[in-house]
Symmetry: C2
Subunit: 350 residues, 2 copies
């Protein structure tokens, strides 16, 4: 686990939504609905002092349950709306809770597509309490991409599908590189990653012409010998979101790719009519597309999400992928990333 | 040329910015800056009664020069801001002209990234005159794409680069199909195409997650035997915009592709450090990516923009491409699309 001071160093002090956090779960009906809160609690436990759950909530993060006054009394500075509803909308109950949190003296940050500021009662509550609202899905204005080579070394996680563990993998790579004393910085491209890093670009929310430009902006030229570790999104094989994945690939101009996959997934996420791509074909397609902005790109490993497999089956799945692709394969959560980092450093030098 | 009544049939009567049009050129310094106005005047001459040029304007469409009062007296209903500045911004002089056009009694439509409604003086002028503002770059809210197969036959134009003639090609294909009595509808994905068709989706302006969904929306299931002719954008080989092109390809789920190219172009548009892709490689990459949502996709022709070549050289360029790819090659403006339509109909039936 990263040390609190190291993690805190990532947080943009100008962000206006400082930790510690209360994680708002509302009426999240399952673990998936609380994905953002769960990721934040897993990767930044030192920032998360409690959770707020409403009557119908059916999940928990294992944190202390608190109401808004209790959270403020416990020193919370910001409530994070860490739930995802269908369509990214805020229901009236959530709006009322956000107002109550502001009235209790906390800032509020949200990862939903719908903006906090689109609700006049929320804006009014923020103003009367002198609190700050932050929408992680509100993209910065960036230039369009140029594809011009920039200094520094970059790794990008790519996937066979959405939600296969690209963010966890990228953060686990950062942790392993830090453990070895190698400079490396996680660059967030999604709302959960932005909450974890304290900054980033919500690449699925930028205007389409600015996808690669947004990635060039979030990972600019780097003059030390450290690694930029860029969080991937979606998949070149997901027909809803492949455009985002391709713009990300071109903007990242990665030196190294790590392919992320969940063995045994029956079909592309939310699309029962689409099978998963073949692993080798998917890796080749990513390498081919990446060469447009970095002809020297190399694959250095495969990260498998084996959370649905028994340990013996997880080990077998890794060995099968290693035999198939000739790359180290590990689960970032249960096995760590040491062998993939070994490969990365042997390919590119320590 | 399409007959006026046929063209008018495409115009969405609910659009609020009806023809006839005054084309605003402002101080456009070259032909490229007036690209939108030029495309509209070329494809819908029956809608375009005049042009407005300011003192420093260095281009002309060959239309009658008019001020705002003259245009209104000539029956103009809508002024089209058909210029593109760097960054898509409106300078103060343009803002003043838009206000004057509204005060003269015209609606105003713009293809710039910057919205008409973002200028309070423009909004006020529209309100006091009861006129309508239309931003072609304001995208409709659509669902995300699903990749689910939908009824109908679709053709998409793809390109080696931006600005190689994808819109002209798509419109020329529509004209040739209509000439033969085949039902076909141009589906616009850019601001100029939207002005020409009276509707469409500005695909470079949608939120990144909605690229393929926007294309599914603009070309929904079609139950007659007509063709959907979808205007392509960008190129899989343009590092600034390839994400848009890939989302468009997946959302269009094309049965047929026409590859568009300008022979002799020295480098990718605006990027001197990027060479043009190899034609065969570019076509293969588009076919490979298109198969994700339509495994039966076929290439039916190559449209060459030979506007910088002498006629003999243009003919040679077409023959070279035909020999290379085994597909008919024509310039949509100077040669028409008859041979490509022959191939299309022989591949897919009349």
């Amino acid at each position: 686990m990263s040390r609190p001071d190291e993690a805190r160093a990532h947080f943009d002090p100008a962000a206006g939504w400082p930790p510690p956090f209360l994680l708002y779960l509302g009426n999240a009906h399952d673990d998936l609905a609380a994905k953002t809160a769960r990721g934040l609690a897993f990767w930044r436990p030192e920032w998360c002092v409690g959770q707020f759950r409403d009557a119908d909530c059916r999940t928990t993060l294992g944190l202390a349950d608190m109401d808004f006054a209790q959270a403020r009394a416990a020193g919370v500075n910001t409530m994070i709306v860490g739930v995802a509803n269908a369509g990214g909308r805020m229901d009236p109950r959530t709006v009322a809770h956000v107002v109550a949190a502001l009235d209790a003296g906390m800032n509020v940050a949200s990862g939903l597509h719908e903006r906090l500021g689109s609700h006049p009662e929320i804006t009014a509550a923020a103003q009367r309490n002198g609190r700050v609202l932050f929408d992680a899905r509100e993209p910065p204005r960036t230039p369009v991409g140029t594809g011009a080579r920039r200094a520094g070394r970059r790794l990008l996680t790519v996937g066979t599908d959405c939600s296969v563990g690209k963010m966890y993998t990228t953060l686990a790579l950062e942790r392993e590189l830090h453990r070895r004393g190698v400079r490396a910085d996680f660059r967030a491209t999604g709302q959960t990653g932005i909450f974890i890093a304290g900054r980033g670009v919500p690449i699925d929310a930028v205007v389409a012409d600015f996808i690669s430009g947004g990635v060039e902006w979030v990972s600019p030229a780097r003059l030390d010998d450290g690694w930029e570790l860029i969080e991937g999104q979606g998949s070149l094989y997901h027909p809803s979101y492949a455009g985002v994945s391709l713009g990300l690939l071109h903007g990242a101009q990665p030196d190294a790719l790590v392919l992320c996959h969940e063995p045994g997934r029956p079909h592309m996420r939310a699309l029962p009519h689409f099978p998963l791509p073949d692993l080798r074909e998917c890796l080749e397609a990513n390498l081919r597309a990446a060469r447009l902005t970095n002809p020297d790109v190399q694959a250095v490993g495969v990260a498998l999400n084996t959370s649905r497999l028994a340990p013996a089956a997880a080990g077998r799945a890794c060995r099968e992928v290693e035999d198939l692709l000739g790359l180290p394969a590990q689960d970032p959560v249960t096995m760590g990333m040491d062998r993939i980092v070994d490969r990365l450093l042997s390919c590119f030098g320590g």
